[in-house]
Amino acid sequence: MHQPVKGSLEDYLRGTDGRFLRPLPPEVEDHLEACGECNAELKDFESDAVALRSLRAPAGFEPRGGFYARVMQRIDEARASSSVWSAFLEPLFAKRLALISATLVVLIGTYLVTTERADAALQQHSGAAFAQSVNVDNTTQQERDAVLTQLVDFSE
């Protein structure tokens, strides 16, 4: 469909009583007279518009009395049948749950990291102490060896 007709289409199909609003602006009418493609497509649009308008319900259509009570009964039934799991689908609840979970993960992570650092520091400290004690042991041994050597030399 070409621009002049396209621009006037919704105005043309506006008639709420099933009729279409003619005449269209002169330049559109001129175009329609000359363009078979636009004419054919306009006919299809008209036909669909008529079919769509057949979906109008007769005027004054009202439900039976007590409709509100029946709606509330339906709501109560829906409330009763909703499971605990449906709470997880509530956006606010889900957001809060996600926030709490994220906080917990951060807390546990922080705890683990700090505990590991403390362990490493302790391990480093005990390693140095062990090395020192080994050094002390080595010195004593050397001294003992020296005394024994002297004794052997003396007895000889």
């Binding site: 469909m1 289409l9 669909d48 079919a51 057949s54 979906l55 009202e62 439900p63 409709f67 709606v71």
Partner: protein, 222 residues
């Protein structure tokens, strides 16, 4: 049909007053105050909504399904849905547009479930029975229907199912409810040019869907 719809704006028809922006703030209307009361769990406000829109909802459902019992059942479902989801209503469109969308979607959900139930029911038949039923339906579709208007109505309901929720709603609001483009713009918060483009595309999709169905059943013409 050209492919320029998405690029070129719709030219304003001479003589018509096409305003590209007809924004309405749906947060400050009297309707919005009512919605806020329902959001605050005011049951009286909800009752007001039911009473205000029940006739509208019924007529939309009855227009599509033409069955009183189904209309009552689906209308109850629509208002229950409104009750539970009104806390998510964001005032981007009018309350009526939102209710209209829920109602039409419920109708199409119902039709879809009904079709699935029918398929399950038919699967209980023997192959021969199923074939006979299928042929009898084809005869009704292809031959001269008893009531041409009813057949056309059923076809358009079927065709609308092929459109997106938004396209379907816009076409129904325009053709069934008789709203103008300007009114649709106010109701949906979209500008008039966008509405015109969307309506044009929706109408084209409807025609294409009809052509596909006709090709499938071997008929000629829309």
């Amino acid at each position: 049909m050209d492919g320029l719809t998405g690029v070129l704006p719709f030219p304003a028809a001479s003589g018509s007053q096409t305003r590209t922006r007809t924004r309405v703030d749906h947060r400050t209307t009297e309707e919005a105050a009512l919605v806020r009361r329902v959001q605050a769990r005011d049951e009286l406000a909800f009752r007001e909504i039911v009473e205000r829109y029940q006739a509208k909802v019924f007529s939309i459902i009855f227009g599509i399904l033409r069955n009183h019992n189904d209309a009552e059942d689906i209308a109850q479902q629509v208002f229950a849905k409104i009750y539970f989801s009104i806390k998510n209503f964001d005032f981007r469109s009018s309350l009526l547009t939102w209710i209209y969308k829920i109602t039409v979607n419920e109708c199409y959900d119902y039709l879809r479930k009904k079709r699935v139930r029918k398929l399950v029911y038919e699967s209980d038949f023997s192959e021969e029975d199923a074939l006979r039923m299928e042929n009898s339906e084809t005869v009704v579709d292809q031959g001269q229907p008893m009531d041409a208007q009813l057949a056309r109505r059923d076809l358009v309901v079927k065709l609308l199912a092929k459109l997106s929720e938004e396209d379907r709603m816009l076409l129904l609001l325009k053709e069934v409810e008789g709203h103008s483009v300007e009114e649709l713009s106010r109701m949906t918060g979209m500008n008039e040019n966008t509405i015109k483009v969307k309506l044009f595309r929706a109408r084209q999709k409807l025609i294409k869907a009809a052509q596909r169905i006709n090709r499938g059943t071997g008929q000629v013409g829309a």
